[in-house]
Symmetry: C2
Subunit: 193 residues, 2 copies
């Protein structure tokens, strides 16, 4: 169970990493962000590694419900994808913290011991998407000549590259401007032939 202080530290760390990059995620900076001394951080996390683990766990709790939302929509599943992406891109645009969710394995590659957690996150995301495609295939709303895992890979890969690029452009263009094109492409490609 997490204490209030631990949650504060995790959120500060996520904000720091999302806005300034992983190299700014130091105990010093996290401590300063919530206005305590460095040593105080160690009252709540026994090491930086433990803090990183807690961050990843927290990221997972942020992302998982979004996917659930995607899976629950049963009446118009292909529109649900649009809604899902709309929701996701809104979050990404207004809260830098959420961008970390999508790129956790890239960002936290710094700590080799974190590999299992990182794999778990990525595979989780992909398998949620796979389930989504599998279910709409069953309903006959999507082409079935490609495996759901492939559609998931294509979807997630394209989302990530779109967001990466948007970041690199210093958020010049609105992310939503590119969302329409992306949704349109995926729907056109994946609809029944």
């Amino acid at each position: 169970m997490q204490t209030q202080r631990q949650r504060e530290l995790i959120e500060a760390a996520i904000h720091l990493t999302a806005t300034e990059g992983i190299q700014k995620l130091t105990i010093r900076n996290v401590a300063a962000a919530i206005g305590v001394s460095e040593a105080a951080v160690y009252r709540h996390f026994e090491s930086k590694h433990a803090l990183l683990q807690a961050i990843l766990e927290h990221l997972n709790t942020l992302l998982a419900p979004r996917f659930m939302l995607l899976l629950k929509q049963t009446d118009t599943p292909l529109a649900a994808l649009k809604i899902f992406l709309d929701d996701l891109f809104s979050l990404l645009e207004h809260n830098a913290a959420f961008t970390l969710m999508l790129f956790a394995e890239e960002t936290f590659n710094v700590d080799a011991e974190l590999r299992p957690e990182l794999m778990g996150l990525l595979e989780g995301n992909l398998s949620h998407l796979s389930s989504f495609y599998a279910s709409i295939m069953e309903k006959g709303l999507c082409r079935t000549d490609l495996r759901p895992e492939q559609l998931a890979l294509i979807t997630f890969g394209t989302i990530r590259l779109t967001v990466s690029r948007w970041h690199l452009q210093k958020n010049e263009n609105s992310l939503h401007a590119q969302l329409d094109a992306l949704c349109n492409s995926l729907q056109t490609l994946f609809e029944l032939q």
Copy 2:
């Protein structure tokens, strides 16, 4: 113009980064890799930043000809994509240095001053792929209901995620095993309807 020593340093730095991660790319380690002292590095690059810039430039010279190869194939362009990916994945599998090419903007995000170079690399890759799709659209060998830029984004995004995942799995499965599925998916999706 680059000297012999500069090229050695660049290659050592790339190898180091690709195998051990960006956090191990230190002047100390690069110096050790070619068997000289730290100070000696500064005889050839005035700062670490200059070394990073040189690395990016070198990466570009590695990747660009591969894309040229993709664009030159005129008789059977869709098979050329398979050949291109085959070549690329072979390189990735046998030489860690090449993985850096695909992920330069992720990896070198550490130095904020490098942003323009990183953007240039990514946009270059995407525009090569776009040209490829535009040209085979003209020849009537590819669906035209999606813009070439979108197909490029989907292709590159999926390639990157496939490779990212393969890395995370510690190269458990062969990359080529996933290549066939990937090629098949792209061809199925992009062929004339």
